[in-house]
C-alpha cells in the first residue's frame, strides 16, 4: 500500500512541475496564438541561472551562507528567463503573432541556438546543482512511506506560483488588460490598451515561470543543455488537454497527464506507459476537442 501512496505522491509531484511549465505556454498560446518551442530552453535558462547562483555563492560568499542560496536562485532564475523572454519577444515573436506554424519553426530554431549557446558556455556534459542542506531528507508518514522534502518544496513552490499567477490575472489591472486582449484583441486596442506592451509582458512572465520550473528541476537531477526538451512535449499536451484561456484548465491538464503518466508507468513499463498516456489523450480529444475547459459565452445575434 505504501508503494501506491508513494506513486500517487510522485504523480502529483510530476504534475506540479508540468503545471509550472505549462502555465507559461498556456498564456502565450492562449493570448497570442504563438507556439513557443523555445519554452523548453527557457527552462534550461532557469536551471543554469540556479547553477550560476550556486557558483557565485561558493566562490565569493562565506560558506555558512551557502544553504540560503536556493531562495535567491528562484528569483535569479525567474529574472534571467524573464529577460531572455522579453528580448525574444521584442526581436522575434512579435512579428509572428497569429501565425502558429511560422512561430513553431522560428522558435524551434531559437531553441537550438540557445541549446548550443549553453553547450559553448557550460559544456555539453550535465552539471549537478547541490541542493541546500535544509532540503535533504524527508517527511516520514509511516514506516515505509517517506515523502522527500525536495518534492514537498517543489509542490509548495508551484502552489505559490499558481496563486501569484491567479492573483495577477484576476485581481490586478495588468491582469485585466491581459484577459481583455486574450478575449478580443481588436476591441481591447480600440479602448486604449497598448496590446504590444501587454503581449511583451505576458510573454516575459510566461518565460519567467519556465525559469522557475528550471530552478525546481535542479532539485530533482543533474541539468544539461537539453533539459527542456524532455518536458516540452508533455507540457504542450497539458495545454492542449486543458483547453486554452483558463488557468483551471491547465491545472486539470497537468494533473491528468502527470498522474496517468506516473500510474501507467508504475503498472506497466516506462515506454508502454507513455504510449497508453498518448492513447488516452487522443481518445479524450476525440470526445472533447477543445480540452477540459473551453471558453464559452452566450452567443448573440
Amino acid at each position: 500500500m505504501d508503494v501506491f501512496w508513494l506513486q500517487l505522491f510522485n504523480g502529483i509531484s510530476v504534475s506540479s512541475i508540468l503545471l509550472l511549465i505549462a502555465l507559461g505556454l498556456a498564456v502565450t498560446f492562449g493570448q497570442m496564438n504563438v507556439i513557443n518551442m523555445a519554452h523548453g530552453e527557457l527552462i534550461m535558462v532557469g536551471a543554469y541561472a540556479t547553477y550560476m547562483t550556486q557558483k557565485l555563492f561558493q566562490s565569493y560568499l562565506p560558506a555558512s551562507w551557502f544553504s540560503q542560496y536556493f531562495l535567491l536562485s528562484i528569483a535569479a532564475s525567474f529574472a534571467a528567463a524573464f529577460l531572455i523572454g522579453l528580448l525574444l519577444e521584442k526581436t522575434l515573436i512579435r512579428f509572428l503573432y497569429g501565425r502558429p506554424l511560422d512561430s513553431l519553426l522560428a522558435t524551434w530554431g531559437v531553441g537550438l541556438v540557445l541549446q548550443q549557446l549553453a553547450r559553448s558556455i557550460f559544456g555539453a556534459p550535465n552539471v549537478g546543482v547541490k541542493s541546500p542542506s535544509w532540503l535533504e531528507g524527508g517527511l516520514s508518514v509511516t514506516q515505509g512511506l517517506v515523502l522527500p522534502y525536495k518534492r514537498l518544496f517543489i509542490l509548495a513552490l508551484v502552489a505559490v506560483c499558481l496563486l501569484a499567477m491567479f492573483l495577477y490575472i484576476y485581481r490586478t489591472t495588468a491582469g485585466r488588460r491581459m484577459r481583455a486582449v486574450m478575449q478580443n484583441r481588436d476591441m481591447a486596442a480600440c479602448l486604449g490598451i497598448s496590446t504590444r506592451r501587454v503581449d511583451s509582458l505576458t510573454f516575459a512572465i510566461g518565460s519567467g515561470l519556465a525559469g522557475i520550473a528550471g530552478c525546481a528541476l535542479t532539485l530533482i537531477g543533474p541539468i544539461g543543455p537539453t533539459i527542456g526538451t524532455y518536458y516540452i512535449v508533455d507540457a504542450f499536451m497539458v495545454v492542449v488537454l486543458g483547453g486554452v484561456g483558463k488557468l483551471v484548465g491547465t491545472v486539470f491538464g497537468a494533473l491528468g497527464i502527470g498522474m496517468t503518466n506516473t500510474l501507467f508507468e508504475y503498472w506497466t513499463t516506462a515506454s508502454l506507459g507513455k504510449v497508453l498516456v498518448f492513447l488516452c489523450i487522443v481518445a479524450f480529444l476525440q470526445w472533447k476537442p477543445k480540452g477540459f475547459v473551453a471558453m464559452r459565452t452566450r452567443s448573440l445575434d
Partner: protein, 233 residues
C-alpha cells in the same frame, strides 16, 4: 477636430473605400448614411485604426494618426462603439467598464468607475458582478456605451448602435445619444439606418456610395429626392 482626407481602405485584395473625405467639428453630430455594403463600417474601422489605411490621412486635433495603433487613437480622445458591441464576455460588467478607463488620459486610472459613465444606465450598477457575456443584447449595448464613456472621449464613433436589439431599448439608446448631444461636450460620428432618428439628431450628413462620398450637406438639405436616389432600397 476629426479630419479624414482621401481615405482608402479595404479587406485583402478588395478595395472598399476609394478616397473618402470627411470632417467632424467639436460637439457636432455627423451622420454617415448609405445602403448596405457601401463601406460605412469599413470607414469607421479605418478611422479607429482596426483596419489599416492604404491611402489618405486621418488626423485628429491637428495630429496625424494615420499610422498610429488603435490604442493610441483611443487615448487621444476617440471612443468607439462597434457594430455588434464586442463586449468582453468573460469579464464582469464592472471590469468591462474599467477596461474603458484605459483610454482616460492619465487623469482617471484606477479601480473606480466614474459615476458619469453609468449615470445614463441605472441598470448597470445593479449587475456589476455578472459576466458581460450573460447580459442580453440591449444590456450589452448599454454596457458598450458606459464602457466608452468612462474615458470621457471628445469624439464618439457609433456604428449602428441600435441594430439587433429589442425595440424598448432602442428608444433608450436613442435618448442616450440625444443627451450626449445636448451636453455638447462630445462630437459624434454616427452610422445609422433609421432616417427618422437621423433627422432628429444630425447636424451634418454624409452619404456613401460605392466607397465614396456621393452626397453631403446640412441636415436641412437632405430632401426626399436625395433620399430616394441614394438610400431607398
Amino acid at each position: 477636430m476629426l479630419t479624414v482626407e482621401k481615405l482608402e481602405s479595404g479587406y485583402g485584395e478588395s478595395a472598399v473605400l476609394r478616397g473618402v473625405t470627411l470632417q467632424v467639428r467639436p460637439g457636432q453630430v455627423v451622420c454617415l448614411l448609405g445602403r448596405n455594403g457601401t463601406g460605412k463600417s469599413t470607414f469607421v474601422k479605418s478611422v479607429m485604426g482596426v483596419l489599416k489605411a492604404r491611402g489618405g490621412t486621418v488626423s485628429y486635433g491637428g495630429r496625424d494618426l494615420t499610422r498610429k495603433a488603435p490604442g493610441e487613437r483611443a487615448r487621444s480622445g476617440i471612443g468607439y462603439v462597434p457594430q455588434g458591441r464586442e463586449i468582453f464576455g468573460q469579464l464582469s460588467v464592472r471590469e468591462n467598464i474599467l477596461i474603458g478607463l484605459e483610454a482616460a488620459r492619465g487623469k482617471r486610472r484606477g479601480d473606480d468607475i466614474p459615476p458619469a459613465a453609468v449615470e445614463r444606465f441605472p441598470v448597470l450598477p445593479t449587475m456589476y458582478g455578472r459576466r458581460g457575456g450573460d447580459l442580453s443584447g440591449g444590456q450589452q449595448q448599454q454596457l458598450a456605451f458606459a464602457r466608452v464613456l468612462a474615458a470621457e472621449p471628445e469624439l464618439l464613433l457609433l456604428d449602428e448602435p441600435c441594430e439587433g436589439i429589442q425595440p424598448s431599448i432602442v428608444d433608450d439608446i436613442r435618448d442616450v445619444i440625444r443627451s450626449i448631444k445636448s451636453d455638447g461636450r462630445t462630437a459624434i460620428l454616427l452610422v445609422e439606418q433609421s432616417l427618422e432618428f437621423v433627422r432628429s439628431v444630425a447636424d451634418y450628413v454624409y452619404i456613401l456610395e460605392k466607397g465614396a462620398i456621393a452626397w453631403q450637406g446640412e441636415l436641412e438639405a437632405l430632401d426626399d429626392e436625395t433620399v430616394r436616389r441614394y438610400l431607398t432600397v
